[in-house]
Symmetry: C2
Subunit: 334 residues, 2 copies
């Protein structure tokens, strides 16, 4: 086997988040589906941005957030995603490297600008995302470095990447390389509407060899077309090695063919903005899993990382997650 | 007199802030003067940014922050400042318009990029700023619209604008128009190092007709070259109509030739990032002053606005300041 260099390589849409406060009336007046991610074109992005309040910009992107969380926990992580050679691309590149993630994907030098997601946060801390994919549509199989994938214990990919066609091809190439190198493949379903768009393809891809699946309650129910969480939980068991199913304040469940661990959410969190909760749960779990922690402790690390990110605006950790985790799990040394 | 359209027109360097956490050891290793604003060139900006942690981007600029605060209090406000036609310029333009400020300065279409300030926040909540002026150096007298100045009760300018030569010319033009229209001129000294650079010119400009002066303790002491705050306070009295002298947790003093009001700082604030404290004090005072509040109540509005902005990262208000002020001053109706 190739020498290990990374705990996890994360592949996804490289996005800068534009975060603003709003209220439910605004979501309604703009026909936005609360809690969902909608893809928008540049005209709609400009229209909606023009109606948004003063915003904060922070690097984001689901798998990018996960990579940042793994690095903040002290994990060795690489990221693959496409930005343009513009100011937002420079911000994205700076931020992911600054936290210690290896990021070498070649920037596009023509075509659409770096992607942004207009994230509207309501007073109940829920987020509604409107993403202009921009340069992300340029990510393709050529951006997948076989040596990097073969040198990673886990290759983790976001379901959102299924939206741009060439992203899907990159996705499949990476999964094939990982399996040939006897590494593991992990997928997050990203969004129940994303599952609606690609249910059959996702199921086929999962059966073709996803080892670790991340999904929230809505997503796993959508995947197996059931209204019942327990039914969905039973359904997923035979299809993947490990399923990590997150349920917001109800915590999460980690299931394998033979084990099931219920993990409580961290209590007493002042929830400000739920953006990134699932992404950071994946950070904690993947860091734990690739560093020899038990499934239950890996899940607990996920809960700790998720609790940090929902306590402030933005989808990347502000605290040092390793230090934070060390105060809550004796196995972690700061 | 021209019909009034604005309570205040604010003129300054239009800057996007890049806010990151750091520690005192880093400031020392980079030879940065804590709490000060240093001007840096593009090479140094890239070098320093490369060493900074993951950052948050938010619109800033001293007078821009003041304008945003006035608008958040419900005041009628215009802003004059120069950005380029780039992504950071779009962010700056969006944010200041989104909060309700009139901003019509023509963007530059060539030359340096939109300005940014790399703001390093230490665990004690102090900020150290490193500003690449970029497109700000293009602001000049042609950007001053005489009708806008004549239609503003107060024209407010930041001392930082003295750094680019053409900014100084714009500054003088605006002051002349304001006085000819029998309006008032206000100046903030911005930074004690800025005062060191331009002490004689500032004194001359102030004597030539600054009606309302804002300065913190260090700045006013530097202006009159004394180590004693009370001596500086006495010195400033004869030179301006109103001096607003801020002293961090010691509150502020509003002085005229005949009156003196000591305003307490708001107690019990969890101070996260002091960036914008002085800018937002000016917002509160100018909103109050131009809307018929007493000097003491105007100072209290300043204290309320400053307390909000230091309770979170970033130099612009996140809360609605009018609603916040209404809970603390019975004269304010939300």
């Amino acid at each position: 086997m190739t020498e290990l260099k990374f705990d996890t390589t994360c592949i996804g849409n490289a996005i800068v988040d534009v975060i603003g406060q709003t209220d439910d009336a605004f979501l309604k007046s703009e026909n936005l589906t609360k809690n969902a991610m909608a893809l928008i074109d540049m005209d709609r992005a400009e229209d909606l941005y023009g109606k948004m309040t003063t915003a904060i910009e922070m690097s984001g992107g689901s798998a990018g957030n996960t990579a940042a969380g793994i690095a903040s926990l002290g994990g060795k992580c690489a990221y693959v995603g496409k930005v343009r050679d513009d100011q937002l691309g420079d911000i994205f590149t700076h931020d992911i490297r600054a936290i210690g993630v290896t990021f070498e994907t070649v920037k596009s030098t023509s075509g659409p600008a770096t992607a942004r997601s207009l994230i509207l946060v309501t007073p109940d801390a829920h987020r509604t995302m409107n993403t202009y994919l921009g340069a992300c549509i340029e990510l393709g199989p050529d951006d997948i470095d076989p040596d990097m994938i073969a040198a990673s214990k886990v290759t983790y990919m976001e379901g959102y990447l299924w939206d741009p066609q060439s992203g899907k091809d990159a996705f499949r190439k990476a999964a094939k390389i990982a399996h040939e190198a006897r590494r593991e493949v992990s997928l997050t379903l990203s969004d129940s509407f994303c599952v609606d768009r690609y249910r059959e393809e996702f199921r086929e891809f999962i059966d073709g060899g996803v080892d670790i699946l991340f999904a929230n309650e809505d997503e796993v129910k959508s995947l197996y077309e059931t209204d019942d969480f327990d039914a969905a939980l039973e359904a997923v068991k035979g299809h993947v090695k490990i399923a990590c199913l997150t349920r917001s304040e109800k915590g999460s469940v980690i299931v394998t063919a033979t084990e099931s661990h219920k993990i409580d959410a961290i209590p007493g969190v002042n929830v400000v903005d739920t953006t990134g909760a699932g992404d950071l749960f994946a950070s904690g779990f993947l860091y734990g899993y690739t560093n020899g922690y038990s499934l239950a402790d890996s899940g607990r690390l996920g809960a700790i990382a998720a609790a940090e990110v929902i306590s402030h605006y933005g989808a990347r950790p502000i605290a040092n997650l390793k230090e934070l985790a060390a105060t809550q799990l004796p196995q972690v040394k700061a």
